[in-house]
């Protein structure tokens, strides 16, 4: 038989087991909560009073009807500044549109040059609009206008503020 050494408690015995509840030290005291409540309320009251003073003396309108009229006038003013320059924008846009149509036609000619029976602007000689006179300006759809461009361009046109 080998000699066996019995495990024994450390000298002086184990430390006593702590089984009582040990509360954490309170950082925020109750009086602090009450003080914070009172303080934030007072600051908010101060802001409200300040805004009321601002509205009373510095704002353009106080009563509801007055405000409605005033803001609709502002909107009319802003809208007018757009309406006034509309012809200039449209003039440029129309020229750009025609230039783009020309470029589209040339692109299609270059694209289908290996296709012997293809006629530009038609489907093998079949016009999109048959009964319309020759000098009638055709309806150019959006997908047609962007047909030789990345789809993202059409997407940007149809959904201009997509990044918002």
């Amino acid at each position: 038989m080998a000699s066996v050494k019995q495990d024994m408690p450390p000298a002086g015995g184990y430390a006593p087991i702590i089984y009582q509840r040990v509360p954490h030290k309170r950082v925020i005291q109750n009086w602090m909560l009450v003080a914070g409540l009172i303080g934030t309320t007072a600051y908010g009251f101060y802001l409200v009073k300040k805004n009321q003073r601002f509205v009373k003396y510095a704002s353009a309108c106080i009563q509801l009807m007055h405000c409605l009229v005033f803001h609709s006038k502002l909107k009319v003013e802003k809208f007018e500044s757009l309406v006034a320059v509309e012809p200039f924008l449209y003039a440029e846009k129309d020229r750009g549109f025609l230039k783009e149509l020309k470029a589209l036609r040339e692109y299609e000619r270059d694209l289908m040059k290996d296709h012997p029976y293809w006629e530009v602007g038609t489907l093998y000689g079949d016009h999109v609009y048959r009964s319309l006179p020759k000098d009638h300006f055709p309806i150019i759809t959006i997908s047609e206008y962007y047909s030789h461009r990345p789809f993202f361009d059409q997407w940007e046109y149809t959904w201009p503020d997509h990044w918002l």
Binding site: V83, V85, E86, P87, P138
Partner: protein, 173 residues
């Protein structure tokens, strides 16, 4: 595929003209006066555009509009550059949608300068949004009416007999 060779598009000489290359705050700032200065051209062009519905037929009017606007902007640059630029900068940096409400001081300076130097007063509120009447010398375009071949029909003097079983009207049915 809807742009055939038979479609006549004007040559490049008519399409390539000097464009108005200014940003949108400047257009917002001097826009009302610009529209007032080129009132006749603008009305003529917009009427043409509305009536013809064909961008090829209003190119001459469009070029006149653009040249008139350019002339006005050159004049603004010569006489009221600082005022217009400060107003445009104020419009750009004081609100997201370029309201003039935050820039009344700059706007007043700009209006004063344009009125005194160029002689163009800012039109009153509602000038551009109300109906503007324009007498144009351009003839009114005649609408194109499609002509269909004569549809077959009964002869005028066909025998008309009374219905065999009377009226077929039966209550609500």
């Amino acid at each position: 595929m809807a742009i055939p060779d038979s479609l006549e598009i004007p040559p490049d000489e008519e399409l390539n003209v000097q464009e108005i290359n200014v940003s949108s705050p400047v257009l917002r700032a001097v826009g009302p006066q610009m529209g007032k200065a080129c009132d006749k051209e603008c009305k003529e062009y917009m009427l043409c555009r509305e009536e013809e519905r064909d961008p090829r037929k209003c190119l001459k009017e469009g070029r006149e509009v653009t040249s008139c606007g350019l002339e006005f902007l050159y004049k603004v640059k010569e006489h009221c550059k600082n005022e217009a630029e400060s107003f445009a900068r104020c419009l750009e940096w004081n609100s997201g949608d370029m309201k003039a409400y935050y820039c009344r001081k700059e706007q007043a300076l700009n209006d004063q300068c344009l009125a005194s130097k160029l002689g163009i007063e800012r039109p009153p509120l509602g000038y551009f949004t109300s109906i503007r009447i324009h007498n144009s010398t351009r003839p009114r375009p005649t609408p194109w009416i499609p002509k269909f071949p004569a549809t077959p029909s009964f002869p005028e003097d066909r025998p008309i007999e009374p219905a065999k079983h009377g009226s077929r009207y039966f209550g609500w049915w």
